[in-house]
């Protein structure tokens, strides 16, 4: 069993709190992504797991062993660094073999494992070369090969793809995911790229200002963001946020959006009583709305301001009241600027948030999710 347990981790740099009382469990063989904007503490958290930079308080437990005060070499981890940290004075072979040599692996076994790792990364023909003779993508492969050659059950990755160009990143993303699931290692992966996080992670931990805001499967994080920040950070375009007003509607409540009314789901009724007559944020994904070109009683009419034809989708920009809304439609949905269209908001796709702090109304507490 190789799970990583972080308990109440705190790390400060001077007055700046990089990790603010974070607790986290990474399951065995899980691919966990730490996602957040720069400065949110994701790399610091990863380094705390690696043993590079000691925590001010809290514990790190790997595989049932408290490693909080152990140096990196005694933690049974390997790591891929953002700038690869390939040793320039060693050949590719020696780079990949570095960890094995330090463990005094017997020569035949060492050669075999280096060659296996190199083969998995398709660099077996370059073993005698020096890193300076290789491209960025190839260096990236050396770094990954070095990390998997030691066969440690945990691999930590610190934005490993951020220095590659867009096409290569796409390629490596798929390759890394296949490779790591094949190896069955536990992976903690730091990135600020939400698409990377969505596509690779078994679970995503969205971080901001040293705290984990949400920890869930990618689709859950995408569909049910716990706050305005998470909804806005994940997804291109980001989630739409509109200002609606809660009104009494017979026994229940409805949310007024322009001259249109949304019907919140029944389980939200209780939470909405506190918001009677007040303004709430209505969040909806650009592709979650159903646009039509003819009037419909349960749809709101908007005028198209901008049409962006992106190939896979047409991205429309319109206004509802004072709010701008982005609508993603199929490329077959032909409209021109100024046209009127009607948008239907499917009940289960709409999220209601507190406009003050951006938190979802009746959000499940984070403690419950983490437990």
């Amino acid at each position: 069993m190789t799970e990583i347990l972080i308990q109440n981790a705190v790390k400060r740099f001077g007055k700046f709190v990089a990790i603010d009382d974070v607790s986290l469990t990474v399951q065995e063989r899980e691919f966990l992504v730490l996602l957040g904007p720069s400065g949110c503490g994701k790399t610091t958290l990863l380094r705390a797991i690696a043993g590079l930079g000691m925590l001010d308080s809290g514990r790190v437990v790997i595989d049932g062993r408290d490693v909080t005060y152990l140096p990196p070499r005694e933690r049974g981890i390997s790591m891929v660094f953002q700038n690869y940290a390939i040793f320039p004075h060693m050949t590719v072979f020696d780079n990949i073999a570095f960890g094995l040599k330090m463990k005094k692996t017997p020569k035949p076994q060492l050669t075999e494992r280096v060659q296996n790792a190199a083969k998995l990364l398709h660099i077996e023909s370059m073993l005698e070369r020096y890193p300076s003779q290789m491209s960025g993508g190839q260096r990236q492969r050396i770094a990954v090969a070095r990390a998997i050659a030691v066969e440690s059950p945990i691999i930590l990755m610190d934005e490993p793809l951020s220095n590659l160009d867009a096409l290569l990143r796409l390629e490596m993303r798929a390759e890394l995911k296949t490779l790591l699931s094949k190896l069955g290692v536990t992976t903690v992966y730091v990135t600020h790229d939400q698409i990377e996080a969505m596509s690779m992670g078994d679970r995503i931990a969205v971080m901001r200002a040293g705290k984990i805001l949400q920890l869930d499967q990618p689709t859950r994080v995408y569909d049910h963001p716990v706050s305005q920040f998470v909804g806005g950070f994940i997804g291109t375009p980001p989630m739409n946020f509109l200002h609606g007003q809660v009104q009494k509607n017979g026994a229940g409540y409805r949310v007024k959006l322009g001259d249109y009314h949304l019907k919140p789901p029944a389980d939200l009724e209780a939470a909405l009583t506190a918001w009677d007559g007040k303004s709430v944020l209505v969040g909806i994904r650009a592709e979650a709305m159903e646009p039509t070109k003819s009037p419909s009683p349960d749809a709101v009419q908007v005028n198209v301001d901008v049409v962006e034809m992106l190939g896979a989708q047409n991205l429309l920009t319109a206004r509802i009241g004072d709010d701008t809304i982005k609508v993603s439609t199929s490329p077959d949905f032909q409209v021109a600027v100024g046209d009127a269209i009607w948008l239907r908001f499917p009940e289960n796709k709409v999220r209601y948030m507190n406009p003050e702090d951006g938190q979802v109304l009746n959000a499940p507490s984070l403690e419950k999710v983490l437990a």
Binding site: G51, P71, R73, M79, F87, H89, M102
Partner: protein, 296 residues
Amino acid sequence: MSTEALPNIPAVSPKEPMWDAQRRRALIGVRLRRAGVYAVAITIAVWVLLPIWLIATMAFSTPQDVRAFPKALFPNPISLDSINFFLNADGIIRATGNSIFVALLAVVLSTLLAVPAGYAIARYMFPGRDAVRLVMLSVRAFPIVVLAVPLAVIFLQLGLFDQPFTLALMHTALTLPTTVLVISSVFASVPFEFEEAAQVFGCTPLQAFARVVLPLALPGIAASAILTFVLSWNEVFAAILLTLSNRTLPAHILYNLDKSSDPFKFAAAFVMLVPSLIFIFFIRRYLFNMWGQINK
């Protein structure tokens, strides 16, 4: 830059007089600037090379040619008489031996001290780090005289006077500030991530230093060692002050200068010059690296 290429570029209309004049002025400006740079570079090169050339040709001329005027551009006939005479002169071999001993010892001592010190300054934040750096630089600002006289007194009191070993200590003290700062900048240019990677893959901090950082910093350390060697090899003042019977080569030559003939002086100058030239030739790449290019 050729004017013929211009009609092929329709966007720049050559017919418009405004354009033409502007363009010509710009071209003249570029050429003038380039000519200026070359003029300065050539002047500096000649300034440095002319004396070296003079010394080299004179050292290999016959004594008659040395005294002749005007001097020939090339020694004709080439003669090793002056060099031979110099090398066989009384005390020269011994002084050369002293010089080499002092320089090598200074290199060893200053490198052994500067590598840990430089590493600490490059890698660790500790209270007074900037102060340490500043104080070291300011030591460098003192004239040798200020340092040499009190040190000579101390060495006299300790009974260490007139020994090559003592002079090596003095030269170490003189070069150490530079060496520490140079080596710390070399270490600073080795990304810390390399060390972290080494530690993740099984190294203790010391092993990470020995296996990853040191090999990468070695060229820079070698360059600074050679710099120390050349400095010690050329240093005269402290050498004269601190030694009497065990003079180093420059001290010995300087001491005998007024009693020597011109061919002897030229030969001495040449012998003094050669090691420095050879070393500079080998380290020039690292010197350039040190001032800017080592970070990639």
